[in-house]
Amino acid sequence: MKMTKKEYDAMTKVKSPKSNLVKDMIWAFLVGGLICTIGQALLNMYKAFGLDKVNASSSVSITLVFVGALLTGLKVYDNIAKHAGAGTLVPITGFANSIVSPALEFKSEGFILGMSAKMFTIAGPVLVFGISASIIYGLILWIFRLF
């Protein structure tokens, strides 16, 4: 072929359709917003049941994680996520999905080396950076309090 890699790259870019960003963003906004609204409704409900703010917030997280895990197990979550994209990825339900889906997938390789070992293959980086960030945040706070 009488073509450089650069020329081919340019040709490929023209021929390869892009994701429809506007559509994707509308979906993400609506579904992500809906999940957050459900979260707020749950928070109000738990508060109405007499829980204080901290316990009510924790209960919301627990409920949403449970629903995310359940919908993953029922093979529904990925079908919503196909359209919703970041709308289902970013909320805590997406975190549940990222742990439950490899757990389901790799149970065929055994309970320990399959399911347990592979459970965090997707969520692992989130945990690493989440925990690292909280350590740095804690250190900064600790240093400020010294003075």
């Binding site: 072929m1 009488k2 073509m3 390869s16 994701s19 993953t72 197990g73 990925d78 999905n97 065929s108």
Partner: protein, 336 residues
């Protein structure tokens, strides 16, 4: 006896025959436009097995069994089987064919494996190394997803350029004599890498390899696209096949009657497959059902089958490597 034509093409003087062939398909493929041609469609993609890998092996076993029955021969008369799939260490083939007792040659050419195995089986028969040789490949969507991408239930989005791995398998029994179609020439391709790094755009990665092999074949034989009723690649999908046409136009080769196995196998819009089908099983299934049926019926006389493969692994892609690709060509004719 086989002889070289030009730089890359090998002419098979005895024109080995496809004595029997069969293709089995998964549920989604069975809902596609080619369903009627398939020998068997599984009710669900587990194929009655406990794991996806076992399901893929099961498909190979079932496909070869059906092809042998249709060729009216027993496994003991097959001198060698050329087989491959997409799974690590080709376990789909290793486990699927372990009970047949046929001398086994495992191949990996990614999605080009069916063209590679038909070419090698035909060469073996033409050179007298085998009286009967089998070629078989498979792929399974669920087994490929967990190896190359994400768990099935993970809520990810596919890009518009991504292709859908076909769940299916196809087998061809090549012999000295048979009803045909007949293998006349083969061209083994070179590894071509034009620097594409996007694993979700494998059509684009493979298109230059397809164009290179097709050009080599026309240069070697002096033939042109007008000599063929059908030029079919497997599996470039919609984007890769358009790029291949364009690359060849720049070389003054205008493809006619050109399509791709990954385009034919699904209804693109209704089945939500983005850029089309892919996987070792895709071209195997389409060739060993729809195309060979049509060749026997006389609807296609001269066919160029160009199997294309992307030779990367998830590890090489994560390490930032580009995707090397390959294409092997087989000239199939309805007459000797």
């Amino acid at each position: 006896m086989a002889s070289r034509v030009g730089r890359y093409t090998i002419k098979l003087e005895s024109c080995p025959a496809v004595k029997g062939y069969a293709g089995v398909a998964g549920k989604k493929e069975g809902e596609g436009p080619l369903a009627e041609a398939f020998d068997y469609i599984y009710e669900d993609d587990t194929c009655g097995e406990k794991t996806w890998e076992k399901a893929e092996s099961r498909m190979q076993k079932d496909t070869l069994t059906r092809a042998l029955v249709k060729a009216n021969i027993t496994p003991t008369t097959v001198d060698m089987v050329f087989a491959g799939d997409l799974l690590n260490q080709c376990i789909g083939s290793n486990y699927g064919l372990r009970e047949f007792g046929i001398p086994f040659i495992g191949l990996f050419g990614a999605c080009s494996t069916m063209a590679e195995s038909i070419a090698l089986a035909s060469l073996a028969v033409d050179t007298g190394c085998a009286n009967v040789a089998a070629a078989i490949t498979s792929s399974h969507f669920c087994a490929a997803e967990r190896q190359f991408r994400y768990p099935l239930e993970y809520g990810g989005q596919r890009t518009p350029t991504a292709q859908w791995t076909v769940t299916g398998s196809g087998a061809a029994i090549i012999a000295k004599e048979g009803d045909g179609p007949f293998i006349k020439e083969v061209t083994f391709g070179k590894i071509v890498d034009m620097g594409i790094k996007d694993m979700n755009n494998m059509g684009a990665a493979m298109a230059p390899a397809a164009a290179e092999t097709i050009k080599s074949y026309f240069d070697d034989t002096g033939l042109d696209p007008d000599s063929f009723d059908l030029i079919i690649t497997g599996d470039l999908g919609f984007i890769g096949s358009r790029l291949t046409s364009e690359l060849l136009e720049k070389e003054n080769i205008k493809l006619k009657n050109f399509t791709d196995c990954g385009i034919l196998i699904y209804d693109r819009k209704a089945q939500d497959v983005h850029a089309g089908g892919s996987g070792c099983g895709c071209s195997a299934l389409v060739m060993c059902t729809h195309i060979f049926n049509n060749m026997r019926a006389g609807n296609f006389k001269e066919v160029l089958f160009v199997g294309t493969g992307a030779l990367m692994s998830p590890t090489s892609v994560q390490q930032g490597e580009s995707i090397p690709s390959i294409a092997h060509l087989v000239h199939i004719s309805s007459t000797k």
